[in-house]
């Protein structure tokens, strides 16, 4: 660009393309006319001749204007880019000159953006991502529902399932399944694997075909059909080394030989969670009698045009008909359903929304801090800005110039955020409580990165607002003439930052405090047993070898004998279902064979326990006795009940000797838990530490032989040091029996509060980070104010004010702003905590102790952050301060 043009741009408006071209053409015509006159033409004629030779003026002018307009546009764009790049480069250099500022700002932004990306990638992987089935939004989870008895969403009985799937028109297809653990043998040490038995709707509902081989054929669902299985991709890879010839091979599960007929594609899971293989669910012969046995999960694919509401009303009508037809087994039972996706993510959603709120607040804090830092720099540069402004730089240009540093900072912060997010996601994968669906698939993927970019843009916008705000208010004369000495009380934005940061930090502290208190409360709950020094492990006996009850009983007794002989074992017992593991089922029962009247529900949780079980778990026997050696197969049948059961079903206290018989349970009739009540034991928290104990009926493991058993050992040594011994004992008895789920009862209890602990830890971490960031922010603001008022303070000290007076004034002004934020922060914290009420255990959202402690903690931080810089100001010698600049 020529110097003259540059001058043009600075000094005012460029002439429009039209005027320019007209002047140019006129000059041409005049030159030509003059030349013609010189050659002897009359002036009039000369002008006419010049115009004739020139041609159609308007056409050429139009052509030139088009070209010029395009040229101008290109030039402007080029200049803008050059300027922008230059500004960025300048910003980079300026940042390098202020490493302290740069490092602080980048770290704060990296953390803020990185944590947001982390939590968003978890939210996306767990909640937002569609399920891995074609048209997965048409998949619906169906429940048997009995709200009157407190089971709004319950498993389905086979009889109901077959009726629903046969008669419903709203569903294209329906599938029922039941998950179990099987022992895989014949390939190295016996291994316990999760398998799922599915009904024939499996393929139609999921819409996914095997990657290799075929799906199940209809005859394979008949009882007694040859046994077949379909492997998951992971099993095929891990167990069979991706062997191409796996189809047709046989695999021993629970002692039975299964033919492998297919392999599902990679990443396929149904239901959501890990499954090693699928087996056909063999239709029970006595389906009709199994209406009261609820143990199936059911999902369906909606037919074209059907809606969730329509399907629900159809099934409710159907259930009403079934209820009328079978009042005994189906009283009060109806149907409920909800989209499968909702069903899967339901439990994880509140936690993740909580975490998202937490990181969003952290990002606001990070932005506020960086905004403050940028603002301080902007004030320091008011002179420079004013100079540029005086030289004619436009407002937009100044804004961009101010924002360019922010852009560089946020850009670096966003780059740094990527590893933070990758690391964060891996930490969450590792430490997330068990049962979070799809957690293993959480990755920082493209959509999460896009989200990060969006967050980054937002952060940049928020942060660059600060200097922009300044630019609007720079007073040229003050800034150019006097430096910053005379800045008066116009610190509005600064003080608002202190208030905002206090509010955000306190909100997070309050929420975290409530969660931590809830966790502590939960951990103080007495579960009803003593989890210390207790080891548990499960064994499952293959049906083929141990199909007969006698064989199971013999195995049990021998196992107990050998376990008791282990050095370090104080007592040993067996159980079917441990508390707090979610394993077990409930059933209705009769007392003294009196039929339960229609419409009345009389049900309890069922457990099986061996001799010594109650002593081993240290569950107190309150009345009568626990199981002893006299309770053996063939003897007088006995059951033990829990205190809650005694209170609920025998309010008169006359329970001993009453005959209890469980009415519905899958399995042969004789082996249903039944017997005379011989004792009452203390309540145990069955379903969760935060749930009140329910009525439990304990049957005896020997009288009701189950092939799946859990060993419980009370030890005199460290429980886990006996694991090898236990495995040895079981392997010595039968090498084909896998030992699984080895854990201490302390682990079980810890597990039961894992979600609470996870939330408390993560939010606690966020809150401490927030307090630190906010403390840093307040410190920064106060430092800046003090730095600006050093002269004034020096003057006042020279005039006789004491140090403490000067310090006190600074601290007071800072604390006033913080106190204002305290009120807002506590209110916000209460609002957030109130929305979490469901996640809290015995803590009110506005717990006064938590609120008070949070406020005290943060005000302490704020006080320190005010006091340090204020104190520093008094150290300076007033004479030097007053004389110097």
């Amino acid at each position: 660009m020529t110097p003259s043009r540059r001058l043009f741009r600075l000094s005012g408006k460029e002439p429009g393309p039209g005027e320019d071209v007209a002047a140019e053409f006129e000059a041409h015509l005049q030159h030509k006319t003059e030349a013609l006159i010189r050659s002897g033409m009359a002036p009039d004629e000369a002008r006419r001749e010049a115009e004739r030779r020139f041609g159609t003026l308007s056409r050429y002018a139009a052509e030139c204007r088009v070209i010029d307009t395009a040229e101008r546009k290109e030039r402007r764009r080029r200049e803008w880019w050059e300027g922008a790049v230059q500004d960025l480069r300048q910003a980079g250099r300026a940042l390098l000159r202020a490493p302290g500022f740069t490092i602080t700002a980048v770290l704060v932004l990296t953390l803020g953006i990185g944590l947001n990306a982390t939590v968003f990638s978890v939210l996306r992987g767990v909640v937002l991502k569609p399920l891995p089935y074609p048209e997965s939004d048409r998949l619906i989870k169906l429940y048997a529902s009995n709200p009157k008895d407190g089971w709004p969403l319950f498993s389905v009985s086979p009889a109901d399932f077959y009726d629903w799937s046969r008669e419903s028109k709203s569903f294209h297809s329906m599938v029922a399944w039941t998950a179990s653990q099987v022992a895989a043998t014949g390939m190295g040490p016996a291994e316990q694997l999760p398998v799922v038995s599915v009904t024939s709707g499996f393929q139609a509902v999921t819409g996914v075909a095997p990657m290799m081989g075929r799906g199940f054929a209809i005859p394979e669902f008949e009882a007694g059909a040859p046994l077949v299985t379909i492997l998951s991709y992971e099993t095929w890879a891990r167990q069979f080394g991706r062997e191409a010839g796996v189809l047709g091979k046989r695999w021993i599960l629970d002692g039975e030989s299964y033919e492998i007929i297919g392999v599902m594609p990679k990443g396929f899971e149904f239901p959501i969670g890990q499954t090693s293989a699928w087996l056909p669910f063999h239709t029970p012969k006595d389906v009709a009698t199994q209406r009261g046995a609820h143990y199936l999960d059911v999902a369906g694919r909606l037919a074209g045009g059907a809606t969730v509401a329509g399907a629900k009303s159809e099934l409710v009508t159907l259930a009403a008909r079934i209820e009328k037809e079978f009042p005994k087994s189906s009283a009060n039972w109806t149907v409920d359903l909800r989209p499968l996706h909702e069903d899967v993510v339901e439990d994880a959603r509140p936690t993740l929304i909580l975490l998202m709120t937490g990181v969003a607040l952290l990002l606001i804090l990070a932005c506020a801090n960086v905004a403050n830092l940028v603002l301080v720099r902007a004030i320091g540069r008011s002179g420079e800005v004013a100079l540029r402004s005086a030289l004619g730089a436009g407002r937009g240009r100044l804004l961009w110039h101010g924002a360019s540093e922010v852009l560089v900072l946020v850009g670096i912060g966003a780059l740094g955020a990527i590893p933070v997010a990758v690391f964060g996601a891996s930490m969450i994968r590792r430490f997330a409580p068990e049962g979070v669906p799809r957690i293993e698939s959480v990755r920082l993927d493209a959509p999460s990165l896009l989200f990060t970019l969006g967050v980054t843009a937002l952060a940049a916008l928020l942060v660059s607002l600060a200097p922009a705000h300044r630019i609007g208010r720079v007073d040229l004369r003050t800034a150019l003439s006097g430096g910053n000495r005379s800045v008066g009380t116009r610190r509005g934005l600064h003080r608002w930052l202190v208030t905002l940061e206090t509010a955000v930090a306190l909100a997070l502290l309050a929420v975290a405090g409530v969660l931590v208190k809830s966790k502590l409360r939960l951990e103080q709950v007495n579960p009803g047993f003593d989890p210390s020094s207790t080891l548990t492990a499960s064994v499952s006996l293959p049906d083929k070898t141990y199909g007969k009850s006698e064989a199971i009983v013999q195995f049990q007794n021998e196992l107990l004998r050998r376990l008791r002989a282990i050095n370090g074992v104080q007592s040993a017992a067996l159980a079917f279902g441990l508390p707090l593991t979610g394993f077990g089922y409930s059933s209705s029962f009769t007392i003294d064979s009196v039929p339960v009247p229609d419409g009345v529900s009389q049900s309890a949780q069922l457990r099986l326990a061996s001799t010594d079980y109650f002593t081993t778990q240290r569950i107190p026997v309150v009345a009568g006795r626990g199981f002893t050696a006299e309770d053996r197969r063939g003897g007088r049948p006995a059951v033990v009940i829990s205190q809650a059961a005694a209170k609920k079903f025998w309010p008169d206290g006359r329970f001993l000797g009453r005959f209890v018989r469980v009415s519905a349970q899958p399995g042969p009739d004789d082996d249903r838990p039944q017997g005379y009540v011989v004792g009452v034991v203390g309540d145990v928290r069955e379903r969760g530490l935060d749930k009140e104990p329910r009525a439990i009926i304990y049957g005896n493991t020997e009288m009701v032989p189950e092939s799946y058993l859990t060993i419980v050992l009370r030890t005199t040594v460290k429980p886990l040091s006996l694991v090898a011994e236990v495995r040895k004992v079981v392997a010595a008895m039968d090498p084909d029996i896998p030992v699984s789920e080895v854990q201490t009862m302390e682990d079980v209890v810890r597990h039961a509060s894992a979600s609470q602990r996870f939330r408390a830890w993560v939010m606690g971490f966020f809150a401490l980070l927030a307090a630190a960031l906010a403390g840093l922010g307040v410190y920064g603001v106060i430092s800046h104010i003090v730095a600006q008022r050093t002269r004034e303070m020096g003057l006042r000290r020279a005039l006789g004010a004491s140090d403490s007076q000067v310090v006190g004034e600074v601290v007071r002004s800072g604390m006033r702003d913080a106190a204002l934020g305290t009120a807002g922060g506590l209110a916000a914290g209460w609002l957030i905590a109130r929305s979490l009420a469901k996640l809290l255990y015995q803590v009110a959202p506005a717990d006064p102790v938590v609120m008070g402690l949070s406020a005290a903690l943060f005000l302490g931080v704020a006080f320190t952050a005010c006091w340090i810089p204020a104190r520093r100001a008094t150290r300076a010698d007033p004479v030097i301060v007053l004389r110097g600049e």
Partner: protein, 113 residues
């Protein structure tokens, strides 16, 4: 030869001639027109105004740059001047033109099939 084809042909040629005219130093539009008019019979084919789109186009392509100034008889006029890029362009186009003319000439001079 119809008018349109002659203009099409001329457009590229005109650019080349304008570059050549400016290669002697900065001049305004009228001078360029006169310079070309004196050395060719193009004036019979092309209106003088056609020069200006050519000049503006060259400016947009960065081959020339312009500046307002005063002409020798004290009139305001827009002066054009070759840039480094324009000079390179001129060299390239001259050599291209010469090869083109000699190639076409060779064909036209051939007497027999």
């Amino acid at each position: 030869m119809t008018t349109t084809t002659s203009l099409d042909l001329l457009q590229g040629t005109l650019d080349l001639l304008v570059l050549k005219a400016l290669s002697w130093g900065s001049s305004h539009g009228y001078e360029v027109a006169t310079w070309i008019g004196e050395r060719s019979d193009l004036a019979f084919l092309v209106e003088e105004g056609a020069l200006y789109p050519a000049l503006h186009r060259l400016e947009r392509r960065g081959c020339v740059e312009s500046e307002w100034g005063l002409s020798e008889n004290n009139r305001k006029a827009k002066y054009y001047q070759l840039t480094a890029r324009g000079r390179a362009q001129l060299r390239a186009e001259v050599s291209l033109w010469e090869r083109y003319v000699s190639a076409v000439g060779k064909v036209l001079r051939t007497a027999e099939r």
